[in-house]
């Protein structure tokens, strides 16, 4: 017998799900991605280094900020360029806004309707007008931050290797700060709705991976921390990621998948919360404490609760950054650009390699580049969060299917789609 769920909507990109059942046992569970391959890594070889952040941001329309920043950071590592403290703050502010608007979209519009058994968002919207407008206002505030700092919400422009081409106006930062209390209020309305939803019971131990610095809840920088299923922990330098993570090609899909030390692993909001919950900002920490989770939490449906907690944390973080930047912002020309050091060639005068990791909404994202002495990209590797968790998702589906096998077909399909969507997969990213 086959269980097939075709054209899974309400997520980025296109995919189907197929499971094979033999005498009542689930033999295989496969995510078949149907997105075309764009071959971005191949395209970048032979291009100028400064095109990489612009081209890779086009990997994904919902998370262009993280691709852009990760690409820039990797190139800066290759060039041994240290961006200014102000540049890092502005990038972090963009990252916070990226998390908020992506999570709010996923939570409210893509995932939440599943737990009300509604397949059409437009119907969901019409039934929850107040919460819908709260979710939209929250997203609008976050999108505005990216527009103010990056020049545009989808595919931002102003950030480049070394720093920023232009800086925001202080008045614009003030305006965002003035609207913060309202944004927080709207966020709490959305979060409360998520916390009230009854999620399916499900648990399957796995290993979690996220950036970790032992001081903060990091998105921009840090080492990789592994929280293994037996409770042990391991730290890997983010620059060593290609040695630990192996990408796998499967004959049934264009998207690759990945294993860490030969095992599937989980990334994203749930992984981050399991690893870094101690470092949440006060409001987020308070809400999280009220959940009384037994940690680590292995129910991947709760990824949406983790996203809700992160929305509050990222709002608090964004407020602090806005408060800081509105007084500390100095007119500052990108020092690398000013020295015309990196206009064309590799400033080190020889071929060099650099890689970097950032936390994207869906999990840890890696970019790595080898750049020749003339500034031309010789090698490029990008591992996206969805590639990272695809095998973990398949293993979860394998474990979850027996729970829903006896349901009528239509109902079963809703449950399967709900688990897949709780992961917030981005097939566009996965099939870059």
């Amino acid at each position: 017998m086959k269980i097939q769920v075709n054209h899974i909507g309400k997520m980025e990109g296109h995919s189907d799900f197929v499971a094979e059942i033999l005498r009542g046992d689930v033999k295989s569970a496969k995510m078949m991605t149907t997105e075309g391959a764009r071959l971005i890594e191949g395209i970048l070889v032979g291009r100028n280094f400064y095109e990489a952040p612009i081209i890779t941001s086009r990997i994904c329309g919902i998370c262009p900020v993280v691709h852009k920043i990760c690409s820039i950071k990797a190139i800066e590592t290759a060039f041994e360029i240290q961006p200014s403290a102000q540049t890092i703050k502005l990038r972090k502010l963009m990252l916070m806004a990226q998390m908020i608007h992506s999570h709010a979209l996923h939570l409210f519009f893509l995932s939440l309707p599943d737990f009300f058994d509604i397949t059409d968002d437009l119907k969901f919207i019409s039934q929850h007008k107040k919460e819908t407008s709260a979710a939209m206002e929250l997203r609008e505030w976050a999108l505005k931050i990216i527009e103010v700092v990056g020049g545009r919400a989808v595919h931002p422009i102003a950030c480049e290797v070394g720093g920023f081409k232009v800086l925001p106006e202080v008045a614009e930062l003030d305006n965002l700060l003035n609207r913060y209390p309202q944004a927080l209020k709207k966020a709490l309305a959305v979060v409360n709705m998520v916390l009230k939803v009854k999620l399916p019971k499900f648990s399957r131990p796995t290993q979690f991976v996220a950036l970790y610095d032992g001081k903060t809840y990091p998105f921009y920088d840090g080492h990789l921390k592994l929280l293994q299923a037996d409770g042990s922990e391991k730290i890997i330098a983010a620059t060593k990621f290609t040695k630990s993570i192996k990408e796998i090609e499967e004959p049934y899909r264009a998207a690759k998948s990945a294993e860490l030390d030969g095992q599937p692993f989980m990334v994203g909001a749930l992984a981050r919360l399991n690893i870094n919950h101690r470092y949440l900002r006060p409001l987020a920490a308070g809400v999280f404490k009220g959940l009384n989770w037994q940690l680590p939490e292995y129910n991947t449906f709760k990824n949406i609760v983790a996203q809700a907690i992160e929305i509050i944390h990222c709002l608090e973080e964004a407020e602090l950054l806005l408060r800081d930047l509105r007084v500390s912002l100095r007119p500052e020309v990108n020092p690398a650009a000013e020295l015309a050091l990196i206009a064309e060639a590799n400033p080190r005068g020889q071929e060099s390699y650099g890689c970097a990791a950032v936390e994207a909404p869906r999990g840890t994202l890696y970019h790595g580049y080898r750049i020749n002495r003339d500034g031309i990209i010789a090698d490029c590797q990008i591992i996206t969060p969805t590639v990272s968790f695809l095998k973990n998702l398949e293993d979860d589906l394998l474990a979850y299917l027996p729970n829903v096998m006896d349901l009528p077909e239509a109902k079963r399909a809703i449950k399967i789609r709900a688990l897949i969507r709780a992961y917030d997969p981005c097939i566009s990213c996965a099939t870059h």
Partner: protein
């Protein structure tokens, strides 16, 4: 009870793309919801999960590029089922960033990404108009929110939209941004269709032509100017990024038709 106005039926189809243009539409927030008073949206996979309906559409927006056979089948089917087919964004209109592949060795490029996978489809990247008749183009990478809403408003009112045929320079100068061409950069502002508010120039990023040529663009003049300071390879490099190189080359051979 008030009589309901008969809504137009709208389909929004994403082929292979980053889906950023669909997000520009969603990011309109309340304006997007207001639009739904005029449109019955049946196919918008980003926000719904219903089985595909076998019905006719008044309007179909196509985003992305037909990279897989499935994409192409869907594109052809939607053309047949739609009165108007409008392409949304640079990928569908000009081929998009992925078209860079066409200028390299296609087989080498796929080999670089997939070491073993021989079944991944690897066609030349072509604009949607090569496969089906296109009624209107909303350009840009990504599309500009207010322009998109304006075009949709025109279509609601059964008007045929027309984009003002001005260069990006027009808006750049009006907004008082620095001229990067004069500062010695390759900027395609003089030949690229405006309507984007010169958003890249605002951030001191030169125009790389994501919106394509405007009618009557003096392509030859700009290229002659650029050739004084840059090699052909350097110029082509910039023309390629958003898929404008092939249409610019075409414009050099046959002057664009006045519509």
């Amino acid at each position: 009870m008030r009589a309901k106005i008969k809504k137009k039926r709208l389909a929004i189809i994403g082929l292979t793309s980053c889906e950023g243009c669909q997000f520009v539409l969603l990011d309109q927030g309340q304006k997007f919801l207001d639009l739904l008073q005029h449109f019955e949206v049946d196919e918008f996979r980003l926000i719904e999960d219903k089985p595909m309906l076998d019905i006719k559409y008044d309007l179909c927006l196509i985003e992305g590029n037909p990279v897989t056979k499935e994409n192409l089948k869907l594109l052809r089917e939607m053309r047949q089922r739609s009165k108007l087919l409008v392409v949304l964004g640079n990928c569908a209109a000009l081929g998009g960033v992925w078209e860079l592949k066409n200028y390299g060795l296609k087989k080498k490029t796929i080999k670089y990404v997939y070491k073993n996978q021989l079944r991944v489809e690897n066609p030349d990247i072509k604009e949607v108009e090569n496969f089906v008749k296109v009624d209107f183009v909303i350009p840009g990478c990504p599309v500009t929110g207010d322009e998109l809403m304006e075009v949709l408003q025109q279509l609601i009112n059964n008007r045929r939209p027309k984009l003002p045929q001005n260069p990006v320079c027009h808006e750049c100068q009006n907004n008082g941004y620095d001229c990067l061409l004069q500062q010695g950069q390759i900027c395609l502002g003089p030949i690229t269709l405006g309507g984007c508010h010169a958003v890249c120039l605002k951030s001191k990023q030169a125009c790389w032509g994501c919106r394509g040529l405007f009618e009557g663009a003096a392509v030859k003049n700009l290229l002659a100017h650029l050739e004084q300071n840059f090699t052909e390879q350097e110029i082509n490099h910039v023309l390629e990024i958003f898929g404008a190189r092939d249409s610019i080359n075409k414009a050099l051979i046959v002057p664009p038709k006045k519509k």
